[in-house]
Symmetry: C2
Subunit: 82 residues, 2 copies
């Protein structure tokens, strides 16, 4: 079993209304000094088997086809070597 | 300016219907060998100033009060030292 974490974030320049809403909510809560917030998604994935190269290929296919919209989002895959 | 990343994930045992939907969509796409998927949230935050201890306190307050539901979610804060 290979564990991996995929992080999907909006590309620079893409408007992030959720992040803006969080910034304004923080202001209302009295939490100051926060410059900017941008929200993304994280996926913790377990891949069967022990083939790290195959797992990387599967994870990339998952991101390209399902998890990330590569027009407006970047993704990063981290394979956990513990 | 201090950059930090907050990762909010569901606690073990909490049902994750979004993750289950992704697992079934992967099957439909013909991507096999994926054992489990669990979805979480990531927040990229910029904190004003250079006070790392103060930034850590601000980030913890953000998580406790707004970003994470600590009944069902865990959060991790990583301060970027680049």
């Amino acid at each position: 079993m290979i564990k991996a974490r995929i992080i999907v974030t909006l590309k620079t320049g893409v408007l992030d209304p959720q992040g803006k809403a969080i910034e304004s909510a923080l202001g209302n809560l009295g939490i100051d000094g926060v410059g900017s917030v941008r929200q993304g998604k994280v996926f913790d994935v377990e891949i069967e088997g022990e083939d790290a190269a195959g797992a990387k290929a599967t994870l990339d296919a998952m991101c390209e086809q399902l998890l990330a919209n590569t027009v407006i989002e970047n993704y990063a895959v981290e394979i956990d070597n513990r």
